[in-house]
Amino acid sequence: MTLFRSPRAVPYLLLTPALVVIAAVILVPLAVSLWSSFTAYNLTRPATLYSFVGLRNYARLLNNADFWWAFGRTLVFITVTLNLELVLGLGLALLVNQVTMGRKVLRTIMMFPMMFSPILVGFQFKYIFNDAVGLVNNALFDLGLITQPIPWLVDGTLAPLSIMAAEIWMSTSVFAILLLAGLLALPKEPIEAAKVDGCGPIQVFRHITLPFLMPFIFIAMTIRSLDVARAYDMVRIMTNGGPAGRTELLWTLMARVGYQNSQMGMANAMGYVSILTSILFTVYFYRKLVVARRYMGGVE
């Protein structure tokens, strides 16, 4: 008992509840899921949680074309949406930065899409892209641009694009907000120096503004790459991986394998592969961030 009463034990005692909670909700599930990825765990047969199969799940994954398609699709999805969001967000931030009055209001309005639950955004875009009653097709009809409805969510090429549109609509403002913060913090002097040094507006942007924004861009990239890598809800609502698996991403595939096929061991193995990939992305962007930040130490 004296052990618990010693002053040095106090901080640990006080931290215990928090540690217990963290262990219960994070560490234990993490450990269990890691363990289960080495077993033939099937949801319908709980006993299989103890049938250790070593790396068999991972070995199968490597030869599983569906998995690699979903993996590749996720990477393409991340790359395309992040880059488009970057370009659009940057444009938006630059525009808002030009505004002198009502900037705060604009900033708030800009954040509206982020306030919606992704599920609702999914429903909303499912409706917008609906081939019979959707807004897009109706608009195109009324403008006389099409005579046949376009099957946005059913066509193998258009469906991924529609999902990207929804994702971009929802999250461009993440980039816009972060980059706007960067623009607001932009020191005035180097820009003026560059103007005197002979730069036009585009050169100022290219040589001064953009390098300065780089850390902000990488922060936004890091956050968003993690976000997009686990895209699930919107896809689930809009296409549920269809048509014919053309919008199947890692997490929709995992959910299908884990809950529909009950192959939890396999799903967890997929989960770990995708988490490792996410970590690699994060490390990559973080490295870039550190490099970009290094020389910003000179800003005064």
């Binding site: 120096a193 103007k195 005197v196 002979g198 005064e300």
Partner: protein
Amino acid sequence: MAEIKLTKVVKRYGALGVVHGIDLSIAHNEFVVLVGPSGCGKSTTLRMIAGLEDISDGEIRIGNRVVNGLPPRDRNVSMVFQNYALYPHMNVRENLGFGLGIAKVPAPEIERRVNQAAEILGLQPYMDRLPANLSGGQRQRVAMGRAIVRDPDVFLFDEPLSNLDAKLRGQMRVEIKKLHQRVKTTVVYVTHDQVEAMTLADRIVIMRDGHIEQVGTPAEVFERPVNVFVAGFIGSPPMNLIDAVVTTEGLRPAARLADGVVVPLPAGVSVSEGQRITLGLRPDDITPQGHGMPGTGETLRLEREVALAEPLGTETILFTRLGDKEIQAKMLNPRVVTPGETLPFVVDLARLHVFDAADGRSLKA
């Protein structure tokens, strides 16, 4: 050729006027210094010449072009900013060469000019460092180097030395002076340090509240200030300004001070009996007997008690009273002075300044 001509230049921020129609001509290769107290519009004027601030009214010419509508890059000016404004993500070499690169100067030529500037400014050891890893003085030199590599028509300096310590400031002042002798160009230099102004300028422009008070060579503004403001601003320690009333009882007009002392006014001052005036007396012109410049003209002797002595080495500043003011006097070849000691002071009457007390105008012809 790059003379600069400001004609009735006005700067307003909304309804707030900051520069009120100034006229100024700067000759080719002239070194002009703008001085004035904080907030008087020096930087604003400089930035209008650079093109960083648009001109509300009036006209600015550089060479024979009106530049009002031209962006900075079309004016061929270089500017050194108060806080250096280096590009934080470029090393010293890139900072120096940036402007040339933008101007599409061929790489070997950039290299040559950058190295030349680095040599002039002693920057070679730091060429690969980022600005964050340089000391204030080094950054200042990079900022200057960035300006000189471009070989502009006009150099603009905005208090380039104000962030440096006293010693470095002195050194850099000399460097700038040398640089101007070597690289002849038109320079407009802003400072609120009147020592910098006096030492660097071909001509000094003294500004106050968006107006130009006086333009002249350092000697002119020092010896013939047009008003009390200029008189008090130029010179260190500052000129003693003492209220007085004109009396014409004697042979010629004199000033009666609050303590009853009567000081004969120099010839050529137009005053009338009873007029309120401000006497201007530089510390250099009131010195203890035997401790001043040998005066050439008429002098006045005054016995004064010293309240405080500030020894500066080659001279001592003595604080005493005259009229209703505490004044400063200068003692050359100083000896130790103890507070409370009474000394015989000599006032060089020919060098007295006389200003109208009402509007501050100089009454000396």
